[in-house]
C-alpha cells in the first residue's frame, strides 16, 4: 500500500482553465489593444476590480460551505447609503454592525432553520435593497473627504486600491489556510455530516461564513462609495451575481469544499480584463455581457467537474 499520489491542485479547484484564462486574455489584449499594456491602464483595471474582489472573497467563504449569498450586493448598496446619510464618525461602525446582523440572519436562516441559501439570501437581498432605497431614493449625498482619499489616492505610482487588494487577499489567505476556522470551513463543505461525526460543531463556522460575506460587502461598499465620491442606493446591484461568476471562473465549486483565494482572485481578474478589453476595443457593453455569459459556461464546462469525490 505504498501510495504516493500528489494531486496537483488539491482542494483549490484550480485547473488549467482557471489559471490559463486570465493569462491568455492578458496576452491577447496586449497584442490587440495598443493602450492596454501601460502602467496607467493596469492601474485602471486594479481600481475597477477592487470592490468585486472584496465581495468575491466573501462569496468564496459561503461557497466553500456549499452555500450562496446573493444579498451581498444590496449590502454594498446599503453601506453606500449609510456613508452619506449618517455622521461620518458613526457611518462605518454602523454599516459594519448592520452588515454583521444581516450575515448572522442569513446564516441562522440557512444553518439553523434550514432555508435554502438561494431563498434566504434572495429574501434578505430584497429586504436590504428596499431599506437602502427607503433611506436614499437616488444617487447623491456627500462623502467625507478622508474616505475619498482612502479610496482614490496613490502612494507614489501605486494606486491605493492595490493596497486594499493586498490587505483582503492576505486576510482571506490567513483565514482559510492557517486558522482552525478555515480547516473547519473546508471540512463542512466536504461533508457536513462527517464533519459533525468527527466531533466539530457545524453551526458556528456556517454563521461565520455568511457573516464574513456580508462584512466583505460592507468593506466593498465603503471603498466604492469613496471612489465614486457619492452615495448610491443601487451601487451594489451587479455584485451579488458577478461575485458568483468570478469565483466560478476561478474553479470554486458551488457544492462546497473546493476552492481557493487564488481562484477567486484569478476569476475576478478575468472578469476585469474582459470589461477593460471590451472598453478599449470599443465593443458595446451589451455584447460584453453576452460574451461573459458564454465564457462562464465554456470555462466551467472545461473545468474538472468532479473534484476529489465531492
Amino acid at each position: 500500500m505504498t501510495a504516493h499520489r500528489v494531486r496537483r491542485f488539491g482542494r483549490s479547484g484550480l485547473g488549467f482553465v482557471s489559471i490559463g484564462l486570465p493569462i491568455v486574455m492578458f496576452v491577447l489584449l496586449s497584442l490587440t489593444a495598443p493602450e492596454f499594456f501601460s502602467l496607467e491602464n493596469i492601474g485602471n483595471v486594479n481600481n475597477q476590480i477592487t470592490a468585486l474582489l472584496i465581495v468575491a472573497l466573501g462569496q468564496l467563504m459561503v461557497a466553500l460551505i456549499g452555500g450562496i449569498d446573493i444579498s451581498v450586493g444590496s449590502v454594498v448598496s446599503l453601506t453606500s447609503v449609510l456613508i452619506v446619510s449618517l455622521d461620518p464618525s458613526l457611518a462605518a461602525p454602523a454599516a459594519l454592525l448592520l452588515g454583521a446582523t444581516i450575515g448572522v440572519a442569513n446564516g441562522l436562516g440557512v444553518a439553523f432553520f434550514g432555508v435554502h441559501p438561494l431563498i434566504m439570501t434572495l429574501a434578505s437581498m430584497t429586504f436590504v435593497q428596499g431599506l437602502a432605497l427607503l433611506l436614499l431614493s437616488g444617487a447623491g449625498g456627500t462623502v467625507p473627504a478622508p474616505l475619498i482619499l482612502m479610496a482614490k489616492s496613490s502612494v507614489g505610482e501605486v494606486p491605493v486600491a492595490f493596497f486594499w487588494c493586498v490587505a483582503v487577499i492576505v486576510g482571506a489567505t490567513i483565514l482559510l489556510n492557517h486558522s482552525r476556522l478555515g480547516l473547519r470551513i473546508f471540512a463542512i463543505g466536504g461533508n457536513a455530516q462527517s464533519a459533525e461525526l468527527s466531533g466539530i460543531r457545524v453551526l458556528t463556522p456556517r454563521l461565520a461564513c455568511y457573516t464574513l460575506c456580508s462584512l466583505a460587502g460592507v468593506v466593498a461598499g465603503i471603498y466604492l462609495t469613496g471612489r465614486i465620491a457619492s452615495g448610491d442606493p443601487t451601487l451594489g446591484q451587479p455584485f451579488g451575481l458577478d461575485s458568483v461568476t468570478a469565483i466560478a471562473l476561478g474553479g470554486v465549486q458551488l457544492s462546497g469544499g473546493v476552492g481557493s483565494v487564488l481562484g477567486a482572485v484569478l476569476g475576478t481578474i478575468t472578469l476585469g480584463l474582459i470589461a477593460n478589453g471590451m472598453n478599449l476595443l470599443g465593443v458595446s457593453p451589451f455584447f460584453h455581457a453576452a460574451l461573459t455569459g458564454v465564457l462562464l459556461l465554456g470555462a466551467i464546462s472545461l473545468q474538472r467537474r468532479k473534484v476529489i469525490g465531492i
Binding site: 501510495a3 499520489r5 482542494r11 490567513i174 466536504g190 468527527s198 460543531r201 469525490g309 465531492i310
Partner: protein, 517 residues
C-alpha cells in the same frame, strides 16, 4: 450467563462504562428496550447480535450521535448526557464508524486532527500536525503519505485511516463498528495488533461485529443483543460458537404469515439466472425462480443480496452471466441491463428505501398507483387513470387512507408500502423483486403485506425478496437461498428451515454443513 457476570481477571474493578435501562425508538421502530450492562477498562468487549438487533444504535448512543429516550449512560461512575459527537469525544470516547467519516477534501493529517488541531500563536501548526500524523500512521503501521487527500485513497486505505483516526484521539473508550468489513488480511492483522495494544494501555474497546472468528479471537467479554433487548453479557471463554449462535437467534414466529401452498409439479420457471455476476469482484450465482413461489435471499447485511436483486432489476449493470424469463434453454427473453428493459420484460422492483427510490411523495395514492397502469402507454397518450381500478386495489389491499387523492407522504409506512406494491399489481408484471418488504412497517401492516405477496404468487407470479429479518424468510419464503460473500452457500426449504440453520450458513458458509445442530 447473567448480565451481572463480570469479565475474567477484573472482578474487583468498577465498571468504566455502564448502560442503565437504555431505550430508544425511531418512529414506529423500537430499536432498544431496557438495555443494561457494564464495560470494564482494559477489556475488549464484543457487542453482537443479528441484523437490526440494536448494536449500532446502542454504540451510537455512547458516541453521542443519538440520545436515549429512557435510561442513562455512566462514564467512570458519573452520569453523562451527550449533546453531540463532540461532547462524547470530550469525554474520551472515540468511535471508528462503519460509514466512513473522512472528509475527501482534507489531507490524512488534517482528517486525523480535525477538531483538535495543534496550534502555534493561534494558527494551525501544520508542521506539528504532519509530524504527529506521521507518528500515528507509523504506530498503526499504515504506510501512507500524510499529505494525500483522503478522497484519493481506495476504500481499504480509507478504513485504515479511519482506524488511525480513532487511535489518534485521546480516549479511554474506543468503539469499533464493524471495522473489518472492508479490510483485507494484512489490514485485519494490523487492527488486531492495535486493539491488543489499546487493551494493554488500559482502554475499554467496544467491538461491534457479527463475525464469530473475530469475536473469539479478540474479545474478552461478549454482549449479545436480540431485537433491541439485552440477552447476556459474559466472558467469551464461556461461550462456544453454537451457544453464541443460539443466543443470537430463537424467536416465536406466530401466525403473522400466510399459509404456503404445496409446490406444483411441471415446468413453471419464471426466471432463470445463470452464472450471473452482479458486480465486479462478486462470484457468479445461478438459480431459478418458479411461478407461484416466493424465494428469499437471506444472509448478513452487505453480503451481496442487494446487488443481485438490483442487477436483476436493471439498476446496476451485471458484469457477466444471463437472466432470462422462463427456462434457461428456451429462446426466452433476456431481462436486465436497464430498468426500462426489466419493467418491459414484466419485472417489477420494490426498493427498500421507498421514500426516495420508490414513491412519488408529492403525488396522490391514485397517481402513484396509476403510474403503474400507464407503463405501456405512449409518452404522448392521454394520462387517464382508471379510478375504479385504483379504488378496487386500495380496497383489496386494505390501504387505510381518507380517499384515493390523499398524498402518499401523509400515509404510514405500512400503507405506503401497500401503495408501492399496488403500483406493480396494477401494472400487470408477473415477477416482483422486493427489497426489505416490511422495513419501517408496523406489525399489523406486516401481516397484510405478507398476504399480498403470497396472493401475488398464488396467482402465478414469482417473488424474489431480500430481508434483514430472518423470521421473514422463515415465515414467508418457499425457498431460502443463503448468501455469503456474494455466493449462494445454501438452499433451504422455507417450511423446514430454522433460524439457527440459516444463521449458521450465513456466518460460516458451506463449512457449516454437518455442524452439530
Amino acid at each position: 450467563m447473567h448480565s451481572d457476570a463480570k469479565p475474567q481477571g477484573s472482578p474487583l474493578r468498577q465498571p468504566w462504562i455502564e448502560f442503565r435501562n437504555i431505550a430508544k425508538r425511531f418512529g414506529s421502530i423500537q430499536a432498544l428496550t431496557d438495555v443494561s450492562f457494564c464495560g470494564y477498562a482494559g477489556c475488549v468487549h464484543a457487542v453482537t447480535g443479528e441484523n437490526g438487533a440494536g448494536k449500532s444504535t446502542l454504540m451510537k448512543i455512547l458516541a453521542g450521535v443519538h440520545s436515549p429516550d429512557i435510561g442513562e449512560v455512566l462514564v467512570g461512575g458519573r452520569e453523562v448526557a451527550f449533546a453531540g459527537p463532540a461532547a462524547a469525544r470530550a469525554h474520551g470516547i472515540a468511535t471508528v464508524f462503519q460509514e466512513l467519516t473522512l472528509l475527501p477534501n482534507l489531507t490524512i493529517a488534517e482528517n486525523l486532527f480535525l477538531g483538535r488541531e495543534p496550534r502555534k500563536a493561534g494558527f494551525v501548526d501544520r508542521r506539528a500536525m504532519r509530524r504527529a500524523a506521521k507518528a500515528v500512521l507509523d504506530h498503526v503501521d499504515v504506510d501512507l503519505d500524510v499529505d494525500v487527500m483522503c478522497g484519493d485513497l481506495v476504500i481499504a486505505e480509507q478504513h485504515l485511516v479511519e482506524i488511525a483516526k480513532g487511535a489518534a484521539a485521546e480516549s479511554s473508550v474506543i468503539i469499533y463498528d464493524e471495522p473489518t468489513a472492508a479490510l483485507d488480511g494484512p489490514g485485519v492483522d494490523k487492527l488486531v495488533r492495535l486493539i491488543s495494544e489499546q487493551k494493554r494501555a488500559g482502554k475499554l474497546v467496544f467491538y461491534i461485529s457479527h463475525r464469530l472468528d473475530e469475536i473469539f479471537r479478540l474479545c474478552d467479554t461478549t454482549t449479545v443483543l436480540k431485537d433491541g433487548r439485552h440477552v447476556t453479557t459474559c466472558a467469551t471463554a464461556d461461550l462456544t460458537r453454537n451457544t453464541l449462535v443460539s443466543l443470537m437467534v430463537g424467536r416465536e414466529l406466530g401466525d403473522l404469515y400466510p399459509a404456503r401452498r404445496a409446490p406444483e409439479a411441471g415446468p413453471n420457471v419464471a426466471l432463470s439466472v445463470a452464472d450471473f455476476v452482479p458486480a465486479l469482484g462478486r462470484p457468479p450465482v445461478s438459480f431459478a425462480l418458479n411461478r407461484k413461489e416466493i424465494v428469499g435471499l437471506a444472509g448478513l447485511e452487505g453480503q451481496g443480496q442487494r446487488e443481485i436483486v438490483r442487477a436483476l432489476a436493471g439498476l446496476i449493470s451485471p458484469e457477466a452471466g444471463s437472466a432470462k424469463r422462463g427456462m434457461e434453454n428456451d429462446a426466452a427473453e433476456t431481462i436486465g441491463s436497464s430498468v426500462v428493459g426489466a419493467v418491459r420484460a414484466g419485472v417489477g422492483f420494490i426498493p427498500e428505501d421507498r421514500k426516495s427510490e420508490g414513491l412519488y411523495q408529492s403525488l396522490s395514492i391514485e397517481q402513484n398507483i396509476g403510474l403503474g397502469m400507464l407503463r405501456q402507454a405512449a409518452m404522448t397518450a392521454r394520462a387517464k387513470i382508471d379510478r375504479n381500478r385504483v379504488k378496487t386495489l386500495m380496497h383489496d389491499m386494505n390501504v387505510r387512507a381518507r380517499d384515493e387523492s390523499q398524498l402518499v407522504s401523509s400515509l404510514s409506512g405500512g400503507n405506503q408500502q401497500k401503495v408501492m406494491i399496488g403500483r406493480w399489481l396494477a401494472s400487470g408484471v408477473d415477477i416482483l423483486l422486493v427489497e426489505e418488504p416490511t422495513r419501517g412497517v408496523d406489525v399489523g401492516s406486516k401481516a397484510e403485506i405478507y398476504r399480498l405477496l403470497r396472493a401475488f404468487a398464488d396467482e402465478g407470479g414469482a417473488v424474489l425478496m431480500t430481508s434483514s429479518e430472518l423470521t421473514e424468510h422463515l415465515g414467508l419464503c418457499d425457498r431460502i437461498l443463503v448468501v455469503r460473500d456474494g455466493a449462494i452457500v445454501a438452499e433451504l426449504d422455507g417450511a423446514d428451515a430454522n433460524e439457527e440453520d440459516v444463521m449458521r450458513y450465513a456466518l460460516m458458509g458451506r463449512t457449516a454443513e454437518g455442524a452439530p445442530a
